[in-house]
Amino acid sequence: MSDPVLSVRNLVTQFETRAGIVTAVDDVSFDVGPGEVLGLVGESGSGKTITGFSILGLIDKPGRIAGGQIVLNGQDLRQLSPPDLHKLRGDRVAMIFQDPMMTLNPVLRIDTQMIETIRAHRDVSKARAREMAIEALGLVGIPSPAERVRTYPHEMSGGMRQRVVIAIALMLEPDLIIADEPTTALDVTIQSQILSEMQKLLAERQTALIWVTHDLTVVAGLAHRVAVMYAGKIVEQGPVDALLDHPAHPYTQGLIASIPSSVPRGQRLVPIKGMTPSLINLPKGCAFAPRCPKTSDQCLSARPEQENLGSARTLRCFHPSEVSS
């Protein structure tokens, strides 16, 4: 495989709160190659969004990146000065949020916002920037882009707004896109329209994509590799088929068993007991131990280290299921 676009090593992101230090991202390592889609899966509070924010350098006080490396095309982003990082964001790395209105300014027309972005990163005339904006909107499947570019965000449907945001992200042909649940709020038919546009564009341009989501079913259809996060740690990681067909970590197994369409009709679901933990008072041992069916004394006293299982799989568990390789 060619060199990874992004390589994250031992990333730790912490927040200082009145109740103590919360480690939202704890020793996270992964690579994303060109044209590769990594599904970063986890429930609320698992640290998946903060991982994305950390890569972009968007962590504000009281939070800080406490350790690790974030290497984009051979360049360590943590060593960059704030102005350099600012130049990089939106140009080499782009982020797409769940709510398009987090990206779009409601009082500016779409063209104003898109031209501003282009001219911030590229030395082009206004007329040329407008052409680029219209072209980008056409690529993500917006009908009559030359007219739609002159509208305000509130004149568009949710699906259209999300397309505009994706167009802005793709416009400058970044090396990496981080998408944080971009289709969760959309209807099924609109979701698959957007997924299909993105799949085509990313494959053409060899853009790397990190797809942050709680929905394993979307990841199954889209991702090449999957990383499952729990309480700030990646508990299991691997190629999509291997991981979904032969999950080794009890949490991954529990997530899969919780999906209604994974079991035949009339059969009971087997949910994971208990609730997602608060990061403030994590247990001393494995964070999943209180909910895990395989908990032993070892799990309660020590935290499992990340192991390499071969064939690009990693795992943090003392009692994994056999992985056929």
Binding site: M160, L195, A220, L255, S258, P260
Partner: protein, 332 residues
């Protein structure tokens, strides 16, 4: 099984009247007109005792409006809604009260649907006391018993909603619905806001409660996987109308309406890897200005000339399934 609820040609129309400025402008010769949104249009089906019906559709298709009419939160604009065979307009005060108590609703947002200034005991038990199902002195035990049924500990009785997680709050919402001993529970996207592992717990809870009390559910959701799992029958809505209704097994295995087929084709599933997403084109048209003929024709790959002119009605096929598609009826 007897039918608890029957809907016949039920519809809901919202009229957006003219404001003062527009009326004055009209006097001066302008031409502002009232706008009408037909949110629910000509919907007919029955719910039998103990039956689970899944109601599926995309946003803006009218599924929540339909649920709210069934639960008595909104008054229908036209058509008939009958509870235990008695139509809404023929009900005596006593029958109407019985309907209102026997249909309960569980809402999507477990944060917005509980009063943050009331304790759990009051939230769950208030209505039962007011409607005379229990005495105020019995409230504590009654609520404690309900909380155990939904999987919460009875020592949470005097806590406030903010002390609970989303999944626990949804359980409180369920306990509140159970407190009135309902026959039909309308669940409006009741699990969509929950984490995956918690969703499965709540789905299991719904099934346990159904087994114990024999409730009927109207399970409104956009999550086809969950509906397939829980529902006996499923109804698909598009732009205010039912396009297909039939048993879950039949509809999910062999969808007949082109819209149902498209929906099922596009649902991401665990066993579909590296999927080629082949979306149907376009978006749901605005209900303010629905297309003529079949509302789905601008997005339908099979649409013929006839679809642009004639309005399809729900018709029974060879089995117990109803579809609203002109082409289906021709070839049928």
């Amino acid at each position: 099984m007897t039918d608890l609820l029957s809907l016949r040609a039920l519809s809901q129309t919202y009229v957006n009247g003219l404001d003062l400025a527009e009326r004055i402008a009209n006097l001066a010769g302008a031409n502002y007109e009232e706008t009408q949104v037909r949110a629910v249009n000509d919907v007919s089906f029955d719910i039998a005792e103990g039956e689970v019906i899944g109601l599926v559709g995309e946003s803006g298709c009218g599924k929540s409006t339909l649920g709210r009419m069934i639960a008595g939160v909104e008054t229908p604009y036209g058509g008939t809604l009958a509870w235990r065979g008695v139509a809404l307009e023929d009900m005596t005060a006593e029958q109407r009260r019985q309907w209102e108590l026997e249909v309960q609703m569980i809402f999507q947002d477990p944060f917005a649907s509980l009063n943050p200034r009331m304790r759990v005991e009051q939230i769950v038990g208030e209505a039962a006391v007011i409607h005379g199902l229990i005495k105020k002195s019995e409230r504590r035990d009654y609520v404690a018993d309900l909380l155990t049924k939904v999987g919460l500990n009875e020592d949470v009785l005097s806590r406030y909603p903010h002390q609970f997680s989303g999944g626990q709050r949804q359980r409180i919402g369920i306990a509140r619905a159970l407190a009135l001993r309902p026959k039909l529970i309308v669940c409006d996207e009741a699990i969509s806001a929950l984490d995956v592992s918690i969703q499965a717990q709540v789905i299991n809870l719904f099934e346990d409660l159904r087994a114990e009390f024999g409730f009927a559910y109207l399970f409104i959701s956009h999550d086809l996987g969950a509906v397939e799992h829980i529902a006996d029958r499923v109804a698909i809505m598009y732009l205010g109308r039912l396009v297909e209704i039939g048993s879950s097994d039949e509809v999910f295995e062999n969808p007949r309406h082109p819209y149902t087929r498209a929906l099922l084709d596009e649902v991401p599933r665990l066993d579909r890897r590296q999927q080629e997403f082949n979306a149907i084109d376009g978006e749901i048209p605005s209900p303010l200005n629905p297309p003529p003929g079949c509302a789905f024709h601008p997005r339908c790959s099979l649409a013929a000339e006839i679809c642009k002119q004639d309005l399809p009605t729900l018709q029974q096929g060879r089995d117990a399934r109803f579809t609203a598609c002109l082409l289906e009826h021709q070839t049928g």
